[in-house]
């Protein structure tokens, strides 16, 4: 039996999770052709930063920016030292960043032990009939939408955003037109890291804080990015919506495991049958409609 309200909440939850997990990774992959398999660990650092600040006495609202800052700094350092050698080498970047992730996870375990005491979930839950759902997690779906909207504004209305899109489209031409592509890459990697840190910070109150926590984010993020297609924002939104819906539907009826499997299975179908990803497919339809109207 499909409980519609429950399904709605599960969808919003799934949508938020996928979008927030993926957006940082999508921007980095879209701009620099790097598949950062350490993305999960970036998120983990954000969560750890937030939790450590909170456990030291800061209120949640202040701890979140701390987490974001920690991840951003780390991201910038890594970009200068390691990541910049991997641009446009997607296969090598997968292997190298995987190695990075391994090292990060283990270093965290060595320094901070096997777990930190967790932050409780704020805001309580929504009761309806015999069900309840965490308010906080549903709220995160608004945050996800806000992040997408903010990214859209930055990419389309600011000068930085326009230069960034030009670099994504054609780095050589952008460079010839005066865009400092090196600096663009560094800043973008910083933004991607910050977003990853934000995700970790936001989800920290809802999870147990262990060094391996990043991997649950990595899978959804990775799958959303690769099925999204060339257009960063449109792709992430479509992936979040589409895969989120599949996940919510199957989880609702068959449980979370099957929901996850369904999500992954649909992703494989998309990879095989839509070579340009979800955003590519949508753009293809739009083009065909335009052509029919001319």
């Amino acid at each position: 039996m499909v409980n519609v309200v429950n399904l709605l909440f599960q969808f919003l939850d799934s949508f938020a999770f996928i979008v927030l997990a993926a957006i940082g990774l999508a921007i980095i992959f879209g701009m620099m052709g790097v598949i950062n398999l350490a993305h999960g660990e970036f998120i983990m650092v954000g969560a750890y930063g937030t939790t450590l600040a909170y456990n030291a006495g800061a209120p949640l609202l202040l701890s979140i920016p701390v987490g974001v800052l920690a991840t951003t700094v780390m991201g910038l350092v890594l970009e200068r030292s390691v990541v910049r050698r991997l641009y446009d080498r997607p296969l090598d970047s997968m292997v190298a960043t995987f190695a990075l992730g391994l090292a990060l996870t283990q270093l965290t375990r060595i320094v901070f032990g096997n777990s930190l005491s967790s932050i409780g979930i704020p805001l309580g839950s929504v009761q309806y009939g015999q069900f309840s759902y965490s308010m906080y997690r549903v709220l995160l779906s608004s945050v996800a939408l806000a992040v997408l909207a903010a990214a859209y504004v930055v990419f389309t209305r600011t000068e930085f955003g326009i230069r960034a899109r030009a670099t994504i489209q054609d780095a050589d031409t952008a460079s010839a037109m005066g865009v400092e592509t090196d600096r663009m890459y560094t800043v973008t990697f910083g933004i991607g890291s910050a977003l990853a840190g934000l995700t970790g910070a936001l989800y920290a109150p809802t999870m147990s804080i262990v060094p391996g926590m990043g991997s649950s984010f990595l899978v959804e993020a990775f799958v959303a990015v690769v099925t999204g297609g060339a257009s960063v924002l449109l792709g992430t939104t479509l992936a979040g919506g589409g895969l989120g819906l599949v996940n919510a539907l199957f989880s609702n009826v068959y449980g979370t495991f099957i929901g996850q499997i369904a999500l992954l299975f649909v992703a494989v179908l998309i990879l095989r049958f839509l070579p340009n990803g979800l955003s590519g497919a949508v753009e293809g339809v739009r083009e065909r409609m335009e052509r029919e109207n001319t």
Binding site: I35, V95, A96, F98, A103, F257
Partner: protein, 365 residues
């Protein structure tokens, strides 16, 4: 005028493998003799332990074949590994007898091969390219992990064997060949020798393959697909054949693994294990069969040592090593060392030639 050496070794040598001199083969023979003598000087337990690293070497070679030689990065070798391991367990436990165990071996390898064929067909005949093959194989691995992890319930039983979910499938018998009365069972030292034999035979078989016509086509596909296609080759078929073969090899490794530990669980499908073959082969040199095997044994032994001494730094060291190799030595350690030391002595061996480089006049590197 071909010498006996040429007639024997000619087909195993070529530009696609390192080690094309008498010195190499002599060295290899010595190393094999030492390896064979190893269980005579250590305990059965240690020999069995080393056998694990060696069967992993088989898994590494399967990835080396698919990635290093045909250019197809697959994170999915563990899928075939796992399928074969689980199938071996299911069939051997259900059938019970030693004959049952014997029959389970080819059945399990066949299952792995068929799965590889289906996945390969799905990808290559759908014109999925490069990075997306890596991605799809990675996602399939995750699907398998998630799926197997939730098979804990009693309804997930095949014959008399529950799949076991997270708890895994215990009670998998040792490898055995024969029927009641006339059977050979393998454990400890005998298992070690079996794995060593399989490893050597596979290594030689792969050398034969990659240095022959098909191997040549494989390498060409890796280098420049479009060019090869316009010379009349069906590149999708080439990739499918290689991928299927790699799947069978990974499956064989999986059977050995299941019988080694008498146990298998969904962790074989985990991200951590799926990426290990990529680590081994990247460090060892993906275009080198021997490099892959050596790196596997070295890395796994090293990780085990660090785990034993309780050091948490094992993963950090491996991760850092991998990072350094990708950034600084993309060809891998063994080919790098070979190039800097022995390579210029060996000279340039040409495909299809009978005489080794050292015997030709005027060869310069």
């Amino acid at each position: 005028m071909t010498s006996p050496y040429e007639r024997l070794f000619g087909r195993f040598e070529g530009p696609n493998t390192i080690g094309n001199t008498r010195v190499f083969w002599a060295g290899l023979t010595v190393a094999l003799a030492l390896a064979a003598a190893y269980p005579l000087v250590v305990s059965a337990y240690t020999a069995g332990n080393t056998a694990l690293f060696m069967l992993y070497g088989l898994l590494a070679m399967s990835l080396s074949l698919v990635w290093g030689y045909a250019g197809v990065l697959s994170f999915g070798q563990v899928v075939f590994f796992g399928f074969a391991g689980y199938t071996f367990g299911i069939v051997s436990i259900n059938l019970g007898s030693t004959l049952g165990v014997t029959m389970a071996i080819p059945v399990a390898v066949l299952v792995a091969t068929v799965v590889a064929f289906l996945l390969g067909y799905f990808m290559f005949y759908g014109d999925v390219s490069g990075v997306f093959v890596a991605i799809i194989t990675l996602v399939v691995t995750l699907v398998m992990q998630t799926f197997m992890a939730q098979t804990a319930g009693d309804e997930w039983t095949i014959g008399e064997v529950p799949l076991g979910g997270f708890n895994g499938m215990p009670g998998i018998p040792n490898l055995a060949v024969g029927t009641e009365g006339a059977a050979v069972s393998f454990s400890g030292a005998s298992f070690y020798w079996l794995v060593l034999t399989i490893l050597v035979v596979s290594y030689l078989g792969l050398r034969l393959l990659v240095n022959g016509r098909f191997g040549y086509a494989m390498v060409a596909v890796r280098e420049d697909e479009d060019r090869v296609e316009m010379l009349g080759y069906d590149i999708r078929r080439v990739k499918l054949v290689v991928f299927t073969l790699g799947g069978g090899l990974a499956g064989l490794s999986g059977v050995l693994y299941a019988s080694w530990g008498n146990y298998i669980d969904p962790s074989v499908y985990s991200l951590a294990f799926a990426t290990l073959p990529v680590v081994w082969v990247t460090v060892g040199g993906r275009e080198s069969l021997l490099g892959g095997v050596l790196a596997t044994v070295a890395i796994e032994w090293f990780r085990q040592q660090l785990a034993i001494t309780g050091s948490a730094w094992a993963t950090v060291v491996v991760g850092t090593l991998l990072l350094i190799v990708v950034l600084a030595l993309p060809e891998g350690i063994v080919p790098f060392v070979h190039r800097k030391t022995v390579g210029f002595v060996e000279g340039r061996r040409m495909v299809g030639e009978d005489t080794p480089a050292a015997d030709r006049e005027g060869t310069a590197e």
